[in-house]
């Protein structure tokens, strides 16, 4: 009589054990995540305190390393006197537009080269050469061509973003699982259907990785463009602050550029989380 009971208990047990095991495994990571965040915050506070008090204590003048409070008051002055919002918006808009245009161009050409082996063989040596060339060094050239306006900054940004995305997309197109393509062929799919149904989705992880790199490079591109020419943007504020020996202004501009970069990168990370939702988190 007791045998069927035992059997039924046994079939239930492993499932329960797995559930309990999962919880026991998750719980410490949750609390360790919690303490990691607290630790990070604590480190940040400690760092700011050190920045505020250590340089003055060592006799470093504020025109070499301004204190945190110097930066805050300079920030207020910049907002009031230097049209700070205008400069931030300029950098952000040009950075974003350059990033989007560079990404679209890079992805489009990456896919085109991925579709045609011949085209890829003909063009790739030149692409490689261009990829190695330091793109930011073109900035003065673009200023000579287009003048002191938004174009040189935009073109440098586009150029800087373009290559990593192109290379990533092309690489992923070349490494799509042949068996998947054969499967689609066996299902009588056309070249175009294979492209849209297999190759494009299969390249998404690589495209997203390229976009992440591109987002950080976009800020570098727009900054260099603003440093070498023009009278707008956070990069311009850096040269302007430098000319006035206003160290706090330079620091603030760098911090704001970093924030612009974080916003762009964060946007890409959010898009990636939506696009690549089908990949389990641990593997991302």
């Amino acid at each position: 009589m007791s045998v069927p009971d035992l059997a039924s208990v046994r079939t239930v047990e492993p499932a329960q054990e797995v559930g309990v095991g999962d919880k026991a495994w998750v719980a410490p990571t949750l609390s360790s995540q919690h303490s990691a965040i607290l630790g990070s915050l604590g480190f940040g506070v400690l760092f700011l305190l050190a920045w505020q008090f250590v340089p003055p204590a060592l006799g470093v003048p504020s025109y070499i390393i301004p204190t945190v409070t110097d930066l805050v008051s300079e920030f207020g002055r910049m907002a009031a006197r230097e049209r700070l919002v205008y400069h931030i918006v300029s950098t952000f808009v040009i950075g974003t537009v350059g990033f989007v245009v560079g990404s679209l161009l890079g992805a489009a050409i990456g896919y085109a080269l991925g579709m045609s082996t011949l085209l890829e063989k003909v063009i790739s040596p030149y692409l490689l050469g261009l990829q190695i060339a330091p793109k930011v060094a073109f900035a003065p050239l673009f200023i000579m061509w287009f003048g002191y306006n938004a174009w040189p900054k935009l073109i440098v940004t586009v150029l800087v973003v373009f290559f990593p995305i192109l290379v990533n997309v092309l690489q992923s197109m070349k490494t799509v699982d042949r068996d998947l393509i054969n499967l689609a062929r066996a299902y009588s799919m056309s070249r175009l259907q294979i492209f849209w149904k297999i190759e494009v989705p299969a390249s998404m992880p690589a495209l997203m990785a390229g976009l992440r790199i591109g987002a950080t490079l976009a800020v570098i591109g727009v900054t260099v463009g603003e440093l070498v020419g023009g009278n707008t943007g956070l990069g311009y504020l850096i040269t302007f602050g430098e000319g006035q020996a206003n160290t706090a202004m330079v620091f603030n501009a760098i911090i704001l550029l970093t924030v612009v970069g974080i916003v762009l990168y964060g946007a890409v990370a959010m898009i990636e989380a939506r696009v690549l939702h089908y990949i389990p988190r641990a593997h991302r």
Binding site: D179, N182, A186, S188, M189, S190, Q193, K197, Y278, I279
Partner: protein
């Protein structure tokens, strides 16, 4: 002439490849002739590198024979055909699609309505007992369930023949047994003609009606064994039969496995 009562005929098929780096050619299979009749489950066994997968690629129309002819449902094979469904060791599910959309994938190049596509996919998912996982993504399924989903996708195109290229060889021993039974039931239930390529002799014996034995490269057919066992839809019960063991022993002798191991 191809038998009118056959689904698939290979007539004197030879396949040569250009050997890597040289002018010499490599003969993968030589003068292979075989026939698969409707509803039959035929297994092809042979040593690795004997060209089993080459046969499969040619039947599916992805590759062309150097000599000979391949006839599917009285029509010569000249390219990928909607009448062939094939399954590999890898499940080849698209990770970005749900199971349901994966099953629909094979039908998307066909002139059928969205509703019919959905209905056929759901029907095959049910047959493979995966209807509860229609909206899951492949990573959420176990290896055995993924292979079942791949079978559902293969059956959804309603092929004249299903080609199975070692579909169980990447699975652990227990999952393999369960999946063999599940496949055997599904295939018997749908009455579909099947060609299984495997290196597992017991698998060939427990799942098929007839076994074709190939030699080492260049692959030729060296033996044909009719499996006279009941319960084709239940490999586990066949496995227990002493006759199955005899068939395996016979296959081992044909393939000279013991001499090689010595």
């Amino acid at each position: 002439m191809p038998n009118t009562a056959s689904v698939l005929d290979l007539i004197g098929v030879t396949k040569r490849f250009a050997a890597p780096g040289g002018a010499a050619t490599l003969t993968a299979i030589e003068q292979v002739s075989l026939t698969v009749r409707p509803g039959e489950f035929v297994a092809v066994v042979g040593p690795s590198g004997c060209g089993k997968s080459t046969i499969l690629n040619m039947v599916s129309g992805l590759d062309k024979p150097s000599e000979g002819r391949i006839v599917l449902n009285q029509k010569p094979v000249e390219g990928p055909s909607p009448e062939v469904g094939f399954m590999l060791q890898k499940d080849l599910l698209l990770p970005w699609r749900t199971i349901l959309h994966n099953v629909e994938f094979g039908l998307e190049a066909r002139p059928i309505s969205r509703e019919e596509r959905r209905a056929r996919a759901l029907r095959e998912l049910k047959r493979c007992r995966l209807e509860d996982f229609a909206n899951s993504y492949p990573y959420q399924l176990s290896g055995g369930m993924r292979q079942r989903a791949a079978l559902a996708r293969t059956l959804a195109i309603e092929p004249a023949i299903v080609l199975l290229d070692e579909p169980f060889s990447a699975l652990d021993a227990q999952t393999k047994l369960i999946l063999q039974k599940s496949f055997a039931q599904t295939i018997a239930g749908s009455g579909i003609t099947t060609l299984l390529i495997t290196h597992d002799l017991m698998e060939a014996v427990t799942m098929s009606d007839r076994i074709l034995v190939m030699s080492e490269r260049p692959g030729r057919l060296v033996d044909e064994i009719k499996v006279d066992l009941p319960n084709r839809d239940n490999p586990m019960s066949r496995m227990g039969s002493p006759l199955a063991k005899q068939y395996v022993d016979h296959l081992m002798a044909t393939l000279h496995l013991e001499e090689k191991a010595a």
